[in-house]
C-alpha cells in the first residue's frame, strides 16, 4: 500500500508539474496544418546562415552570411566581396540584412545592417551602412546610422531593411537584451524601428524630431527583436514581426511614433516560465495583427504578389527558426489571419524569405542554402 501511494504521488506530481502555464496556450488560435503542396529546389548550396539576400538587376544574387561574408552568386559561382566592414559576429549578431536602393539603377547603392564595434566602448550595436559594388569589392562605404551604446550581449540586434516610395529607408534594431532600459525610452537606441532619408539624414517630419534628447531617427518603439519587415504593397503600410520571449512573437502594423508595448505588455512569459507582466493590453500601446503562442522564432517575411503560386497570392510567408518550416499566413480582406500552413516542413532553420524579381519565392535556410519554393 505504501509503495502504491508513493507511486501514485510520483505520477500525480509529475502530471501536475508538467501542466503548462496557462499563458503557453493561445485560445481560439487559427490552427496550423502541414501542406504537401510545395517542394524546394536548392539554388545556392552550402551556406551556414544566409541572413539576407537581394537580387541584382542582372539576376545575380547578393547573400549575407552572418559570419561577415558578403557573397555574390553569379552564374553558379560564389564570389566573396571584399571591403565589407568588420562585423561583431557574436550571439545573434553579425552581417544581417541587405537590400538594393530603390534607385539602384541610377545610384548603385546597396544598404545593409550589421553588428558594429564602432565607438569606444567594448562590444557592439546595430549599424546601417550603404556602399557601392565595384567589381568584387565594396566602395564608397558610408555608415548611415550606428546605435549606441555598445554592449557585449549576444542578443537582439534585429535587423531588417525596407524602403518606401517617398525616399525613406526603414530599419530595425532589437533591444540588445536590455528590456527594462531600452525599448520604452525614446532617448535611447534599441527596441526601435528607424526611418532615415536615403542619404542617412533624419527626415524633419519624423515623430520625435524636436523632442528633448530623443533619438530623432526613431519611427516606432517598444519592440523586442524585429527580424522580419515588409511594405504591404496594397496598403503601403510597414509590417514588422518580432521575436517574443517564450511565446508572444508578434506581427505589427507600424504607425508613426507608436509604442508596441514591450515589455509592459506581452503575450509571452520568461524562459524560466515566470510572468513578465500581468497585462497584454494597455491604452497607448498597439495590439499585434497576429501573435504566436508558442513562439515559432520568426525570421524573414514576404508577401506573395506574383502569380507564381495562385494559392499564396496576397498572403504572408514567415520563416520559423524554431520549428524549421516556412509558415504561410492567409489573410482575409481585413488583413486578419484566417488560415495557417506549414510549408517545407522540416527544411531547417528558416532565416529569410523574399519574393524574387522573377516572382518566385526564395528562402534562406541555415545549413542548407538558398532554396526556391516550387509548387508540386
Amino acid at each position: 500500500m505504501k509503495n502504491f501511494s508513493i507511486l501514485l504521488l510520483s505520477v500525480l506530481t509529475t502530471v501536475i508539474a508538467c501542466a503548462q502555464n496557462p499563458k503557453e496556450v493561445k485560445d481560439n488560435d487559427v490552427p496550423i496544418t502541414v501542406s504537401e503542396a510545395y517542394e524546394y529546389e536548392v539554388i545556392v548550396p552550402d551556406l551556414i546562415n544566409p541572413w539576407g539576400m537581394a537580387f541584382l538587376p542582372d539576376g545575380s544574387l547578393l547573400i549575407t552570411e552572418k559570419s561577415g561574408e558578403l557573397i555574390h552568386f553569379v552564374n553558379g559561382e560564389k564570389i566573396t566581396i571584399d571591403g565589407v566592414p568588420e562585423v561583431y559576429n557574436r550571439g545573434q549578431g553579425g552581417l544581417l540584412d541587405i537590400q538594393l536602393s530603390p534607385n539602384y539603377e541610377s545610384d548603385g547603392f546597396i544598404y545593409f545592417t550589421y553588428s558594429s564595434t564602432e565607438g569606444e566602448a567594448k562590444g557592439g550595436n546595430t549599424a546601417l551602412m550603404r556602399a557601392q559594388l565595384s567589381g568584387n569589392s565594396l566602395s564608397n562605404q558610408e555608415v548611415l546610422y550606428k546605435a549606441t551604446p555598445n554592449t557585449t550581449k549576444g542578443q537582439h540586434w534585429g535587423s531588417r531593411i525596407v524602403f518606401d516610395d517617398a525616399g525613406h529607408v526603414f530599419f530595425t534594431a532589437g533591444e540588445r537584451g536590455e528590456r527594462d532600459i531600452n525599448p520604452q525610452d525614446i532617448t535611447r537606441d534599441n527596441g526601435k524601428v528607424y526611418r532615415l532619408n536615403l542619404d542617412g539624414s533624419i527626415p524633419t517630419d519624423n515623430p520625435f524630431v524636436g523632442t528633448e534628447n530623443a533619438k530623432e531617427a526613431i519611427w516606432s518603439y517598444g519592440h523586442r527583436n524585429p527580424q522580419g519587415m515588409l511594405i504591404n504593397p496594397e496598403t503601403n503600410e510597414i509590417w514588422v514581426h518580432e521575436h517574443g520571449p517564450r511565446g508572444g512573437d508578434e506581427i505589427n502594423v507600424i504607425k508613426k511614433g507608436a509604442n508596441y508595448g514591450w515589455p509592459v505588455i506581452t503575450y509571452g512569459i520568461n524562459y524560466s516560465g515566470t510572468d513578465i507582466t500581468d497585462i497584454t493590453k494597455k491604452e497607448g500601446m498597439e495590439q499585434p495583427l497576429y501573435y504566436w503562442v508558442p513562439s515559432i522564432a520568426p525570421s524573414g517575411m514576404a508577401m506573395v504578389t506574383s502569380d507564381a503560386y495562385p494559392e499564396l497570392k496576397g498572403n504572408l510567408l514567415v520563416g520559423s527558426l524554431k520549428f524549421v518550416y516556412l509558415e504561410a499566413l492567409y489573410l482575409d480582406e481585413n488583413n486578419s489571419v484566417i488560415k495557417r500552413e506549414k510549408l517545407l516542413d522540416g527544411v531547417g532553420r528558416v532565416r529569410n524569405v523574399i519574393q524574387g524579381p522573377d516572382g518566385f519565392v526564395y528562402v534562406g535556410v541555415e545549413g542548407v542554402g538558398i532554396v526556391k519554393l516550387v509548387q508540386n
Binding site: S5, L9, L12, A19, N49, S67, Y271, G273, K322, G348
Partner: protein, 150 residues
C-alpha cells in the same frame, strides 16, 4: 494511519506544486544546480556560465536544458554532451553542423558559431555540466578550451 499520512503528504505536495505554477518537470524544478563540491572557483564559473547560457543558448535549448523536440537536442542528461566532453566544448566554441544522436534521437541541424571567448565557453560548459541533473567533477578551464582546435 500510515497510508493516510502518506496520502495527506501527497496532497500537500501536489498543492505546493500546483501553486508554484511551474512548467518545469518535477526532476529539474527544485534548484537549477546542486553544488557538488566546495570549489568556489567552479561555483563562480557556474554562476557566470548561467548568464552566458541565458544570453546565448536558452532561446533554443530552453531554460531547463530540455531543448525543442525534433529541432534542438536536450542538454539535460544528454548522453552526447556527457560522453563527449571535447566534442561538446568544440561545439560551443566553433558551432556544430551535421547529424548527431542524443539520447537515442537523431538531429541534423546547425548551430552557428556563437562568438564566445574561451573563458565564456568554459563558464557555460561548467553551468551546463552541473545543471538539470547533469554533474561533472572535473571543471572545464579556459586553458582546456584554448587547446581545442578547429
Amino acid at each position: 494511519m500510515k497510508t493516510a499520512l502518506i496520502t495527506l503528504a501527497s496532497f500537500a505536495i501536489i498543492i505546493i506544486f500546483s501553486a508554484s505554477k511551474g512548467d518545469q518537470s518535477f526532476g529539474t524544478s527544485a534548484s537549477v544546480y546542486i553544488p557538488i563540491q566546495k570549489d568556489t572557483s567552479l561555483q563562480n564559473s557556474i554562476k557566470r556560465g548561467k548568464t552566458v547560457y541565458e544570453d546565448f543558448c536558452m532561446q533554443c535549448h530552453m531554460a531547463t536544458g530540455e531543448g525543442i523536440p525534433g529541432a534542438f537536442p536536450p542538454l539535460a542528461k544528454a548522453d552526447y554532451l556527457l560522453n563527449n566532453r571535447t566534442k561538446a566544448i568544440h561545439a560551443v566554441k566553433y558551432g556544430l553542423q551535421g547529424p548527431i544522436t542524443v539520447n537515442g534521437t537523431d538531429y541534423n541541424s546547425i548551430m552557428a558559431p556563437l562568438g564566445l571567448y574561451d573563458d565564456e565557453v568554459a563558464d557555460v560548459m561548467n553551468y551546463i555540466l552541473n545543471s538539470w541533473g547533469n554533474s561533472s567533477d572535473k571543471p572545464v578551464t579556459e586553458k582546456e578550451v584554448a587547446a581545442i582546435e578547429k
